[in-house]
Point group: C2
Amino acid sequence: MPLSPAVETVSIALAERSYPILIASGLLGDAAVWDDLPAAGAALIVTNVTVAPLYAARLQAALAGRYRQVHTVVLPDGEAFKTWETLNRIFDELLGRGCDRRTVLFALGGGVVGDMTGFAAASFMRGVPFVQVPTTLLAQVDSSVGGKTAINHPLGKNMIGAFYQPLKVVCDLQTLQSLPARELSAGLAEVIKYGPIADMAFLDWIEAHLPALRACEPAALAHAVRRSCEIKASVVGQDERETGLRAILNFGHTFGHAIEAGMGYGQWLHGEAVGCGMVMATRLSQALGLVDAAFADRLVRLVAAAGLPVVGPVLPAPQGGPAADNAERYLALMRVDKKAQDGDIRFVLIDGPGRAVVRSAPDALVRQVIDACCR
Amino acid sequence: MPLSPAVETVSIALAERSYPILIASGLLGDAAVWDDLPAAGAALIVTNVTVAPLYAARLQAALAGRYRQVHTVVLPDGEAFKTWETLNRIFDELLGRGCDRRTVLFALGGGVVGDMTGFAAASFMRGVPFVQVPTTLLAQVDSSVGGKTAINHPLGKNMIGAFYQPLKVVCDLQTLQSLPARELSAGLAEVIKYGPIADMAFLDWIEAHLPALRACEPAALAHAVRRSCEIKASVVGQDERETGLRAILNFGHTFGHAIEAGMGYGQWLHGEAVGCGMVMATRLSQALGLVDAAFADRLVRLVAAAGLPVVGPVLPAPQGGPAADNAERYLALMRVDKKAQDGDIRFVLIDGPGRAVVRSAPDALVRQVIDACCR
């Protein structure tokens, strides 16, 4: 049975690793969506305790015609569990069930489930196929697209992982209707991100449609997901492994990762930390004279209007760690960022509206921005 | 300073992932060998407690001109330590030392060090460059070449890993002079392997030069390493990710992995298990009528003459596992082999001298062969 014409498709062009992102309501329960996946004896749905009761049975039923055995593993929910121990539960399940190299993994959930399932697929038997079925706005507009997979290390976020592309990404917009408001706001951070780095017309649209987005209006969400995926697809298609351009997608993430790690994974949602991180990166851009106060104030207002924090937290002193002030704690955490080179922090900054640049900044200026943004 | 003309080079042709294997005596202490590596602030030598006292200082000195900081992490020695816990010590060192995406890893040791360092390099910050510096015959002729990296899982060998190619492989033949006889024999298993699957003239040469090889004569070792690498390079160049042809390099490994896992990792050396596994795979080939008794007897004699076991072990019953006879224990372990499909074990068999085939075999026949080969 063919897919409904109402399904929108964005393509990620990566030669033999190219794949489609499907966007529509009701996709995950539609057997036609899964028709073209490679044949295999078994599939494994990886999900979490929050998402499983809502959608696992529906996906399982839709896959039942395609795979003789459809197993499910239910992980704990939250960034704090994006660890080797949780990842190993996926391997235990795969090996305990006698899964083989053709087994297809399905990541049913948000960014944490997607990142871990992707890394499990990249590593199990040195690589098995997988599909992203993102059920949060954040995962639909960002983390499920582009093949970045990882787990966290106590000393840094997403430090252990792989670039590994899925066979397809299936964004079922209906799943967004069950999102708590806090998760929706977190996802809006990654939507907003695409404006200042790449597309000011999209930023205008987001400003105009923010009430509709926060009210979960289907048409607004559909446009936000599609346009976000288009921009991400364009960037990833030019630089799959982040040797240059792709780093601009990390706008807000250098400060944001420091917040997440410094507060303890799971205290702040990833999107909340990115929202606040965008504020700090924008203020740093302003301090460097790259954007004016009007632009910076506009972006901060939008982040706040999305329901996201715009004041950074004062990070607690690490147990047994050296005494240091708040700015020093941020700097120490940012020095292990993956973009850093020889201890030199590389920030994604706004270099005029709609244009991002990756560069370093004087420590003293970064401290001033941190001091001004946190309390 | 240019490399000495005495250095032999075998090339692995994989488009943008192509790299050379350098083969000569005294290479690891020669700064010219490391001259063309990418610039970076830091390097990390990964080695083990056995190899570190012999060669780590020499490699460190040779790298000192190229990297501002050369760190070393010393792991425990042996297959039993090819685990996530040991791998994590590499990540701890990298993050604790403030290493970044440009940091180059050096695997100084045998197959276990090479497999773990390669997987660490594949996964740290989603991929950093690495170099193989194999110091055992087994690693020089097989495991350091071709980009297979992995760690073990309690339920199966090499189950978690990546295809990830090194920047170069540096085979310092001098390191083989410090190898214990048991390790040398283990390496000879992987040398012998190349004959029956690909090159009967090489098998003739091995038979004629076995005493010289076991006596560590430099010229004989040089030829064995070079010819082995040539055959492996040719196979890997045609099928990097083992979608077909490359599986023939696993001749002896299906039975061999069952021996390693069934006896407990580290009880049998990998090469010993492969040697005995080749005997069992050859007897299975004979039972299927693919080779005659004269060929099979010849190969078994050569394995024995290399100082390798030709009688398979009776596997101990797993703790808390089901009661089963020895053949059933082998079969259960082989069903989780990476080549298995839907529980159907795929054996690499000899399909006439110098030619391998990957196929299944009736369980009853496999049992007969196991019963005949083990005591």
